[in-house]
């Protein structure tokens, strides 16, 4: 591919979305994927100790973080989740 063609291809590349301003009071919606044996247990311990954290994170239990499929992460983002937290 010549330089010109390359430049043209670059011109046609889709524009990267501009970062939107974060509205005041906005809270991200977060999904956590946690290993049954460690991170899920840690989330339980946080509760036992009555540690407080924002409620906008929900935990999906996996048998091991090795079970995490990229697809889960992509699916979560496609479905509008703002953040994915993998812990294990």
């Amino acid at each position: 591919m010549g330089n010109q063609a390359e430049a043209a291809a670059l011109d046609e590349a889709p524009k990267i979305e501009k970062e939107a301003d974060i509205p005041e009071g906005w809270e991200p919606n977060i999904i956590a994927f946690a290993c049954h044996y460690c991170a899920f247990a840690a989330a339980d311990l946080a509760g036992v100790m009555r540690l407080s954290y924002p409620p906008n994170v929900k935990v999906i239990r996996l048998p091991c973080t090795g079970k995490l499929d990229e697809y889960y992460v992509l699916r979560a983002f496609v479905r509008g989740v703002d953040g994915v937290f993998v812990a294990g």
């Binding site: 919606n29 999904i31 049954h36 460690c38 899920f40 247990a41 989330a43 339980d44 311990l45 946080a46 509760g47 036992v48 100790m49 009555r50 540690l51 407080s52 954290y53 409620p55 906008n56 929900k58 935990v59 999906i60 239990r61 996996l62 048998p63 091991c64 090795g66 079970k67 995490l68 499929d69 697809y71 889960y72 699916r75 979560a76 496609v78 479905r79 509008g80 989740v81």
Partner: protein
Amino acid sequence: MDMSPDTPDQTTKRGSVLIVGGGIGGMQAGLDLADSGFKVHMVQRDSSIGGTMVMLDKTFPTGDCSMCMISPKMVDLGRHMNVDIHTLATVTGVEGVPGDFTVKIRQEARYVDPELCTGCGICEEKCPKKVTSEYEQGLTVRKAIFSLFPQALPNTRVIDRDNCIYFKKGKCRACEKFCPSKAIRFEDTPKEFEIRVGAIILGPGLDRYNPRVRQELGFERWPNVVTSIQFERILSASGPYKGEVKRPGDGKHPKRVAWIQCVGSRDSHNANPWCSSVCCMYATKQAIIAKEHDSRIEPTIFYMEMRAFGKDFDKYVSRAKEEFGVTYRRAMVSAVREEPGTGNLLLRYAREDGILKDESFDLVVLSIGFQPHADARDFAEIFGIEPNAYGFAKTTQFNPVETSRPGVYVTGIYQGPKDIPETVMQGSAVAGRAMALLGEARGTEVAEKTLPPEKDVKDEEPRIGLFVCHCGINISQTVDVKKVAQEGASLPNVVHSEDLLYACAQDSQEKIKTLVKEKNLNRVVVASCTPRTHEPLFQETIRDAGLNKYLFELADIREQCSWCHMGQREVATEKAMDIVKMNVAKAKRLEPVASGSVGVTPAALIIGGGIAGMVTALSLADQGYHAHIVEKEARLGGLLKDLHRTLDQSDVQAYLKETVAKVDAHPHVTAHTGTQVQKTDGFVGNFKTLLTNGETLEHGAIVIATGGVEYEPSEYLFGQNDRVMTQRTLEKRLAAGGPGIGGRYVMIQCVGSREEPYNYCSRVCCQDAIKNAIAIKEKAPEAQVTILYRDIRTYGLREDYYKKARDLGVLFVLYKEDRKPVVEETGDGLRVRAFDYLLGKEIAFRADHVVLSTGLRPHPTAAKVGEMYKLTRNPEGYFLEAHVKLRPVDFPSEGIFVTGLAHAPKNLDETISQALAAAGRAGVLLSHERLAVSGIISKHDRDLCMSCLTCFRVCPFGSPFIDEDGKVSHNEVKCVGCGICASVCPMKAFQVNNFRDDQIVAMIDALTESAS
């Protein structure tokens, strides 16, 4: 011969075992025994099981969280059908014979009915009386009705009668008023009862030295002097300061922190003469963890000798120095004084060159040692066993877990100071001994449950029952439980929804069972607490109602919702709804999972015919299984063939001869000598091994006991001058006796150990040197013996012999790695030059003999064996166990165990303990006629699979394999259900039961319904 059962001299053995002590040693023994068909009675003095380990924050050398490791074991034990736990209980009398003991037990009143109590904890919240917390080591308070710690088992609270306002003043009863289950019983009284058991295991654990005795160290006088166990609580994220490193005096963050070692240990004047074995390592761990919590901390450890003798311990100390900047100062602290007004502490100590120095620290931690319980002697008397001079249970080198009374075994620190893995090993070892004693009575006292047939729900539309729990007020004070139940009713496929005060209580369980039948429910979702503790309970409930237990889903709205979002009712309720939604979405896609089983060949293959292999084989054979020993040499015995005496002068050769004779005579042991393993096929319970001599063996378990070899030195003129020899050669000469024992000996320690590339302690050489030094001095008192050492590591009760050697006049001279001694030939002998740190100059010794204390290496065959069974070894070549703390003889691969020097260097008594442990663990496996295969495993679809071998490469357990047709198959017996294969498989030919992709995606979708 009259064989009628009432022959007077014939006793019927009982299939039950009493375990005294609910620490980690007793727990391990309990689980091993209960899992192999014995009834277990556990008697524990405290209101909860757990012992000392539950107080620890992290464990060395891996830094694993202590509670996270032990609490699943506690839950297993608490739920086990074959285990009865008697807390607040002590044994008051024992009668009978091995195989049939009658035990009297006294159980103190708990004042709370465990049948009714749900463990909700409201009583504790409402109790107005605050009491100093024993568990938190006095750093904070608890209530008069309390549980020892949050994860206590049983979780029934207990009333501390001495501090209860009602018991003292006749008024209050707040707990009773607020208890929703009406479980408080002020009228409760102590109970006395008898049980009959076949064997007794003692694991009463330890007391800690009280440092008040050492007044010069200022404990309880200066508030910023704490004990090591207090510091564990300070470090703990669930402790009084939530893991923030603060000093108790003023809450300030300390910068300069000092540890003082050997407080209460190695001191026959004010304390205990023995070494407590663990303090050097826990101080190192605490220094590292403190630094991890707060990088500004500058730790200094004052020590006499760094006893990092265990597997990978020296490397841990090196890391502490190099990566964490921990300063180790070889000095004894003579006084601790507070600097007025600052709360800081001034430590006085003598520097290595003898000059006194005062140094200021912000916080001082006293590394306190272990001792037997104050009532250890009475305890020994009750059980009719002999204590040793210090009050520990008396055992011998060759029978390290047997007390003086047959049928009564000992595990853990009551046998002598030791760390967690050694305690766990002894736990499995005593279990193995009890199994051997009671073999034929296995299964006679355990309960078996009959279950209704499972209903076939395959073709039914999902009909979900949803139960939302208030947990007293634990959930409902934050989450609107009724609203969650109401909204949940409208979720797809939910046909019944209601709220329950306590979902886990007996009445709720019955209700769930009834509703499953009445409303024809085929999936159940409970929204309450964590699946980690409560899922098995509910699974059992629905199984009782005729549903496959995997048709259950638990939504965690307590630990992960109500408890974390207190005071935020609206958002917490919304989150609870989201959690319920995603679990219902998953439940809709749940399918019954068949738990299969495979047969087990009741035999074991033991690779290595040294003492570890032979002891394992004999113990397994005594348990009733066949043991095949494979030894590549013509004679059994391994390294022990060259050992004559132990440190306490027990006769090793006689013991070896006796053991070999037992192996030869035992009908269930076959020794295959002069041969090796060619290959092994199969999996746990069903292995098939071909030997190089053509024999084929079938067996259910494999024990790796490949042993070790002695390091062949090249340094210090070894091989060049006949006067330079190893300890082994010296020992042989001493055993042969004869003239010429006298003369001048210089022994050099750590030859081939504790330096790169072999930076580990060989553990046996200090004792070897001291043993031989004592033998020389006893035979020829005029002989001169000098030991050049780096740290004398006579840990535990071995310390006595270090003292004995010094008393006999053996000289001990320190050398350091960077200034090693030099051995030179002189006209009539040898000269050894070394640097004396006290004098600050070089000194020289004339020597007739230089004796090298050479280290140990793993046996060269370990590499091949490791490769054959896909077992990992550490960089030095020792096999890596499944978990360094709690699974010290298991491998991650099911059905394979490790013991002896193959695992790490260790002394003979420790090898015997570990061999018995391997036999205990293998015995648990072999005791099953069939082995249940877990339901949560990866399922392989051969139609989708294209045999790309990705799974084959990533599976840590070796369960995918290349089948006879050249394509991948999956061995479900080996699978643990981690799902790594499922995530990497490009064809998605693997799916984990209950964690299938469609189930996880359904959860994601349910959570994002409103967002998309």
